[in-house]
Amino acid sequence: MNPPSETNSLAEARKGDRGLVVQVGGEAYAGAGGVDAAEIERRLLEIGFVEGARFEILHEGLFGRDPIGVRLDDLTVALRRREAAQVRVRFVHEAAVAAAEAPAPLPDEAAA
């Protein structure tokens, strides 16, 4: 399941970027401390990174613009860009986000 060409990695997002989460997990991840790609996918899901969620980058750290603070629907989550690379997003302009209130069918639903 290749992501559509217009999606981006959340790791590349800059402050002020908004959009929708398209896919969580499935990218290469150099595991560390017992955390592998599947585990980071579960953790991202559990803290609210789920397909269809609306996001906005609110904060960037001083060094290397890392970590980032991301508004996710009704909560704010901080994470490193390293982990953010597991999240594929589609950037959307503000008006379009509002229009996309009704979330598109989720990828795995479509697959199933």
């Binding site: 560390a32 579960r42 001083l62 603070g69 704010t76 901080a78």
Partner: protein, 635 residues
């Protein structure tokens, strides 16, 4: 599974009822726990693990005696840290020696229900009766979040109540529902709670969709969303400004720890020295009674003294930490410092333990529990004692006062102050470097992922803060206190026995085990510029760093610890020796209590031994270099 089955089988009509509070981090769970149980709570450890177990007791409206367990916050029953293992095992009734809770109270932050609704899907799979408490309901109302409580209850299939823990609102409703479920539970025994299994990613996604549907059906988004958090974060998380503000907060905190706590600490020290004087006056100095007097004075009063003399500092420190935590700032501090700490191989959360270690390494090491990953936590524990704790201050002050001229440099800075600052900087810098080396050489690979919620800011509740500070103080006194006291008595024994023979000319400590050990070590310490007096003083100095000052006084037969001793040292020691001793104290593991607490926190002898070894090696190397460089430069 079998434990759970046994626990259920073991239930009888007379058994004590149990409820457990479960919820996401920052949902006000502890505030609800405090509101429910008030002062009737007990903090202990779960057996075998260093996770805090908070239990309280209440009587329900129908008269049931119920024990309430406050479980560590979690997003899932899938355990990834020792804390979360406890939450999972407690919920599933797998904890050794504990029955499963009769009712689970799932506590939710009413302003942010998405994640807790997903957790509810998992909790329901456990098969225990559940009450959902929509906590901080007042904030949700203020924001105009419209929650259809009745519909939520219907869709989830569990009773839902609204609570405001800080105002003690909704507690009767909550307990009434607990009563109702317990009565029902007694008629129909709970199902075997073994149906929960670790959800797969597909199941987590499915649970999210379910939560999303429930949310859409029952909750209307805020009409007046919280704008305070956004406004504050724009300033507090500003890449440059945020770090400056953080530094300013740290500065104020240090000032407070030392200036607010110092008078109280001095008062305690003064009181104890009065007690000591009284003991001296009222007991003879010879024979067995004399030995007893020495034990009371030098072992017990000194030991108790060095424990409670730290208490004011630790209370002030924890007051700051808890206020900042409850306000929601600690997560921001971790965010701001993550990259900096990450460069040293530490987790952003290691900031709290390292900060606490500047008062005393013991609460610092104990607070390393906030770090989930075992390696991250061990790294933090190993480097925490390198931070300049306040027990180093007396010895730094003594040597600086005796050897560093009190002159002004650059027109404004005092040279003595600069040396002191340099020693602090050396402490924290070496902690970061050692952490870096540990991560690079021994535990390669990057640290635990940094993934945490930035909760909305909230005004801390005074009662909850007071209770938190009080509990920290109590824990310090109980756990650290007993350890420190027993170490002080051990060191007293080594420094006193055997007694000096009648007609002895040297100081009594010279004839004791400590004296023998000191003399034996002296040839080893000569290359770093230490004479036998220093070698001997280092042994009682193992009790706590500041004890070395008194021990030096004893060895040089100087009474009083002030300028008199400094004057003697200035004559007896070369500048090179003095500087080498300063370098030694930056690194040396001169604190038995810290080692004992590390043993306790890591549940093994291996880590305190590693800590002792590496710190000793660093101390020796640093003192060696400093001594020889100073000698070469004519010191």
């Amino acid at each position: 599974m079998s434990a759970a089955a046994e626990a259920v089988a073991g239930e009888s009509p007379a058994h004590a009822f149990r409820i457990a509070l479960v919820g996401n981090p920052n949902c006000g769970k502890t505030a609800l726990f405090n509101a429910l149980t008030g002062a009737r709570q007990k903090v202990a450890n779960y057996p075998g693990v260093t996770v805090e177990r908070k239990e309280g007791h209440i009587t329900t409206p129908e008269g049931r005696q119920v024990s309430v367990l406050d479980l560590p916050g979690t997003y899932s029953l899938r355990a990834r840290s020792p804390d979360e293992v406890v939450t999972r095992d407690a919920v599933l009734g797998r904890l050794a020696g504990e029955a499963a809770p009769d009712v689970l109270v799932c506590v939710a932050d009413s302003t942010s229900l998405r994640l807790v609704l997903r957790l509810m899907v998992e909790l329901k799979a456990v098969g225990r009766p559940i009450v959902l408490a929509l906590n901080m309901f007042d904030i949700a109302q203020r924001q105009g979040i419209d929650i259809d409580v009745a519909r939520l209850s219907k869709e989830l299939g569990v009773p839902v109540v609204t609570t405001v823990a800080t105002r003690k609102r909704g507690l009767e409703d909550l307990l009434a529902q607990v009563d109702r479920l317990m009565a029902a539970d007694l008629v129909a025994p709970a199902d075997d709670p073994g149906v929960w299994h670790e959800p797969s990613v597909a199941e987590i996604r499915a649970a999210h969709r379910q939560a999303e549907r429930t949310l859409k059906d029952c909750v209307k988004p805020p009409a007046r969303p919280d704008t305070l958090t956004g406004k504050l974060d724009a300033v507090l998380l500003n890449p440059v400004g945020g770090i400056l503000i953080l530094l300013a907060i740290l500065f104020v905190m240090f000032q407070a720890v030392f200036s607010l706590a110092r008078p109280a600490g001095d008062l305690i020290t003064e009181g104890l020295s009065q007690a000591s004087t009284y003991v001296t006056a009222s007991m003879p100095s010879t024979g067995w009674i004399g030995l007893l007097r020495s034990l009371i004075n030098d072992g017990i009063i000194n030991g108790v003294g060095s424990v409670i003399a730290f208490l004011p500092q630790i209370l002030v420190l924890f007051l700051f930490i808890i206020v900042l935590e409850d306000f929601g700032y600690m997560a921001r501090a971790a965010f701001l410092l993550d990259r900096l700490m990450g460069a040293a191989g530490l987790h952003g959360r290691a900031f709290i333990p390292l900060l606490s270690s500047h008062a005393c390494a013991i609460p610092g090491i104990m607070s390393a529990r906030v770090i989930d990953n075992r390696r991250d936590r061990l790294t933090t524990i190993l480097v925490a004692p390198l931070a300049t704790c306040s027990a180093r201050i007396p010895i730094y002050t003594l040597i600086i006062g005796a050897f560093v001229p009190a002159k002004t440099v650059w027109g404004f800075a005092s040279l003595q102050g600069l040396v002191m600052f340099g020693l602090y900087a050396a402490g924290i810098t070496s902690a970061l470097i050692v952490a870096f080396v540990i991560r690079r050489l021994f535990w390669r690979g990057s640290a635990e992922p940094f993934l945490m919620q930035l909760p909305d800011y909230k005004v801390p509740d005074a009662m909850n803060v007071a209770r938190g500070v009080w509990q920290r103080g109590e824990i310090f006194l109980k756990r650290a206190g007993t350890t420190i006291l027993s170490m002080m008595i051990l060191i007293w024994f080594l420094s006193t026995v055997p007694l000096a023979p009648a007609g002895a000319t040297g100081p009594a400590i010279d004839y004791s085990f400590a004296g023998m050990i000191g003399h034996t070590l002296e040839p080893l310490l000569r290359p770093i510029g230490f004479n036998w007096q220093i070698s001997v003083a280092l042994i009682p100095g193992m009790a706590a760093r500041e004890v070395a000052v008194g021990a030096l006084g004893t060895v040089y037969s100087v009474s009083g610890e002030g300028s008199a001793l400094g004057g003697v040292l200035a004559h007896q020691w070369s500048l090179a020796t003095a500087l080498a001793l300063l370098a030694w104290y930056v690194f040396a593991p001169q604190c038995m209590s810290t080692l004992a607490v590390v043993r306790r926190e890591t549940n093994s002898l291996k880590w305190p031994l590693i800590m002792f070894g590496y710190m000793l090696a660093l101390a020796y190397a640093a003192a060696f270099v400093v001594y020889h460089v100073a000698v070469a430069l004519g010191g």
